[in-house]
């Protein structure tokens, strides 16, 4: 069952930001603010599991309320080095980027590899709404209403072989449209990866839109990864390749500074980054810092995947 192709939504159907907020407010209260602390906001029509467990996560109840960041904030404060290293660069430098037509190459240890046209990639699936906290490794955060497809559903379609232990992603390489790629600030193209169980987790999303609009260029158009319990740099943008592999793939920031950015990059207030303490964060739009939550507040959904692992070592 599928809902719609994100790129042919009539403008009349695009929800106004204010209306969107009104409509979702009760969901926010129910989901993110709910005692679950999981913040999973699978809404649409089917019961996608509003995780209504009564467990209260640490001091989360005393945390200030989670409020949606504005469309303006989400689209003007971005880390997308392909468009420049300043936070405002992606907004200013991404106008010439063409997110359509787009295709994604699926390869590696799966039975249905191939080049998938963007529309064909999306069409068989139901686009869901997911409002997640996004925690950047630089100790700032936002709350963003994404639309997209759970990665697990997409992966099932490609039918990975049992030997596939990891999923590797690659960002598009277009120095002519992405001025940041003309300077070797990072080794281009950007690459990221997840362990198979992380990729198959309920929370992991392939986002195609935010605030009911197609993903803006500066936020990773037309399709990007969202892994809400990990630092933002794991959320690779403008994906052109998904590969199923048997060994832990390399990741861009880990190559660039291995002592600062690990493969796992789980949000962890107890393990400080050499540059930023991770115990607190500044929510964009707020004056005072707030406490950072273990796994960004999604511990009840993801902590079991790391049971027995030394998270200080596997940062």
């Amino acid at each position: 069952m599928w809902i719609r192709r994100p790129d042919d939504i009539k403008s009349s159907e695009i929800t106004d930001e204010k209306l969107y907020i009104d409509r979702r407010r009760f969901l926010l209260t129910a989901g993110i603010l709910g005692a679950s602390g999981a913040g999973l906001l699978a809404c649409n029509n089917e019961a996608q599991g509003s995780s209504g467990s009564a467990e209260v996560d640490g001091g989360f109840a005393q945390q200030p309320e989670d409020k949606l960041n504005t469309y303006e904030q989400i689209t003007s404060y971005n880390n997308f080095y392909e468009f420049g290293t300043d936070k405002e660069d992606p907004k200013h430098n991404s106008a010439g980027f063409h997110p359509q037509p787009w295709s994604v190459r699926v390869e590696g240890l799966c039975t249905r590899p191939g080049d998938y046209h963007f529309q064909d990639l999306i069409k068989p699936h139901k686009v869901v709404d997911r409002t997640y906290r996004l925690r950047c490794v630089e100790a700032w955060s936002m709350v963003i209403p994404w639309q997209g497809i759970p990665l697990a559903e997409m992966i099932k379609r490609f039918d990975p072989q049992p030997s596939a232990k990891y999923v590797a992603f690659t960002t598009v390489m277009r120095p002519d449209e992405m001025p940041g790629q003309r300077r070797p600030v990072l080794p281009w193209p950007y690459i990221e990866g997840l362990r198979m169980d992380e990729a198959m987790n309920d929370l992991t999303l392939m986002a195609t839109g935010l605030y009911g609009k197609p993903l803006p260029n500066q936020d990773g158009a037309p399709i990007r990864l969202i892994v809400p319990w990990k630092y933002g740099f794991k959320g690779i943008k403008s994906i052109v390749k998904i590969a199923f592999v048997d060994r832990q793939p390399q990741t861009t920031w880990n190559i660039a500074a291995p002592d600062e950015y690990g493969f796992y990059a789980n949000v962890n207030p107890e393990v400080d980054h050499p540059r930023w303490s991770q115990a607190t964060e500044r929510r964009i739009g707020e004056f005072r810092r707030r406490r950072t939550l273990m796994f960004n507040g999604y511990a009840d959904k993801v902590a079991s995947m790391y049971a027995g692992m030394d998270l200080r070592k596997n940062y």
Binding site: S76, V185, L186, T280, R282, R288
Partner: protein
């Protein structure tokens, strides 16, 4: 030739301009222009005041080379003002961090200083600037004696290096701009080393009476120089 002394009040106001712009934007953020400083105004203000501290440090260190290369003796009177503005912007920068970013959470800030080397070196730079600001008066020069005062104030070269390294270490990956600042300070310090080991550098001839070797210089040239120096007196 313009009377540089009369420009001093103008220069003073110009030096205040970056602070005024920041104050105006802060007022905007809390009133009618929420995006005046971007999505993360606190971070923006920290970067802004930090960069202006380094810029004023560079301006301060540029006074002597410019004065000597172009024979603008009167510039000497601007050096203390620029130096104190460097300290002023360093104070604003530190206050942003203490009062706005961390909201006087002393324990957390203590942890930050110990844990992160870029904060430690930034704090060190501020501590090094303190004695320079405190001994900036004419009375201090008299009390300390010119030679000792000058020796103490050589700390500014160290501040230039530690301040830029603070910037370099704070930057996540794109080190282009910190390296440009480092290059500028390298040139400014290089000028001193060059003067020390090679001798005075001059782009414009000094007036005949002070440099006998130049006595043969064209008359017109000599008069302009004399004029500019005359203004300095």
């Amino acid at each position: 030739m313009i009377d540089l002394n009369r420009l001093k009040p103008v220069a003073f106001l110009l030096c205040l301009l970056p602070a005024a712009v920041l104050a105006w934007d802060f007022w905007g953020v809390t009133h009618n222009r929420p995006d005046a400083l971007g999505a993360n105004p606190i971070r923006a203000a920290e970067i802004y005041t930090g960069l202006w501290t380094l810029r004023f440090l560079a301006i301060t260190l540029a006074v002597t080379p410019v004065r000597e290369l172009f024979g603008l003796g009167a510039l000497a009177k601007f050096r203390r003002m620029f130096g104190l503005f460097t300290f002023f912007y360093a104070c604003v920068h530190l206050s942003m961090w203490v009062g706005v970013d961390w909201y006087f959470d002393w324990q957390a800030m203590g942890g930050e200083i110990v844990k992160h080397k870029y904060i430690l070196i930034g704090m060190t730079t501020f501590v090094l600037l303190l004695p320079l600001a405190l001994t900036s008066t004419k009375g201090s020069v008299r009390r300390l004696g010119g030679a000792r005062w000058a020796r103490l104030h050589r700390l500014i070269y160290l501040c230039a290096i530690t301040g830029t390294v603070h910037y370099l270490w704070a930057v996540k990956k794109d080190t282009l701009f910190p390296l440009i600042y480092l290059l500028v300070f390298g040139l400014l310090l290089g000028f001193r080393l060059c003067e020390h080991y090679v001798g005075p550098l001059r782009l414009r001839a000094r007036p005949a009476r002070r440099t006998p070797a130049r006595r043969a210089a064209p008359i017109a040239d000599a008069t302009t120089n004399a004029g500019s120096l005359g203004d300095a007196r």
